[in-house]
Symmetry: C2
Subunit: 149 residues, 2 copies
């Protein structure tokens, strides 16, 4: 897939997809939210080839989404943990989850669920107006950047 | 990229990424939210090869994200419009936008913005608890499906 120029797009959606919009990167980020930190743990959970995982982790570190830290158990390993920039991907992962839950499972089919500290299932993501009123997609529009001549 | 079995994953994130987690599909969905309907308009806006666009549109129709309808101008063309399932991708597109805005532009660099009907910029997506309290990622955890033995 050819990727030309979207890293410099003036649309933040395009730029975000250029940076993290491949399937493996977002699954690695999902696993990091679930507490995985080790190369071997990502590898086992994702069933991804080692070379592919190495490349994706390196890219996520370069991008400032993950950082390498000394292993929490004092061993010689390096752990991968989410940075602030990485943790800000939480709504991306949750929105994918909620769309999947609503549209890609038949009734009664089991799936993992996102719960709060009390074990209650979370609500749906809400897009608020500046004043805090929930907005539907039809209440919004994209204001493009004026093109220089 | 090998994609094995995630269409049947019990993680909704993995299933969602299997379905719509390629770069072009989400950019087509973004354009549909912006009001684009015509093959030629998607093609021009995305700078995507015709064969690639044809394949992606077909997949999005099969998936029930887009549907083909008679052209709004009465011509012989078919328009592509978002279905209910497609419109439910709005938080996915918005979350990518907000992450991109916050992390991939330098200060003062121009980008498109999402505004409400009054032209005010929208707020950040909020994940509410069942009772409506805003949750951070650290307030949540994923409850996995119990494996059958």
């Amino acid at each position: 897939m050819k990727r030309t120029g979207f890293a410099k797009a003036d649309c933040p959606v395009a730029r975000a997809l250029d940076a993290i919009g491949d399937w493996w990167s977002l699954l690695i980020v999902r696993d990091a939210f679930d507490g995985l930190r080790r190369f071997g743990d990502f590898q086992e959970n994702l069933g991804i080839a080692k070379g592919m995982l190495t490349a994706r982790l390196r890219k996520l570190v370069e991008l400032g989404v993950l950082e390498q830290v000394a292993a929490s158990d004092g061993s010689a390993y390096q752990d991968y943990v989410l940075t602030k920039r990485g943790r800000e991907l939480f709504p991306v992962v949750v929105s994918l989850r909620q769309w999947g839950e609503a549209n890609l499972f038949v009734r009664g089919e089991p799936h993992s669920v996102l719960v709060d500290a009390q074990g209650e299932r979370v609500g749906r993501l809400v897009l608020p107006s500046k004043a805090g009123k929930p907005l539907a997609w039809s209440d919004t529009s994209v204001k493009k950047v004026a093109r220089k001549r």
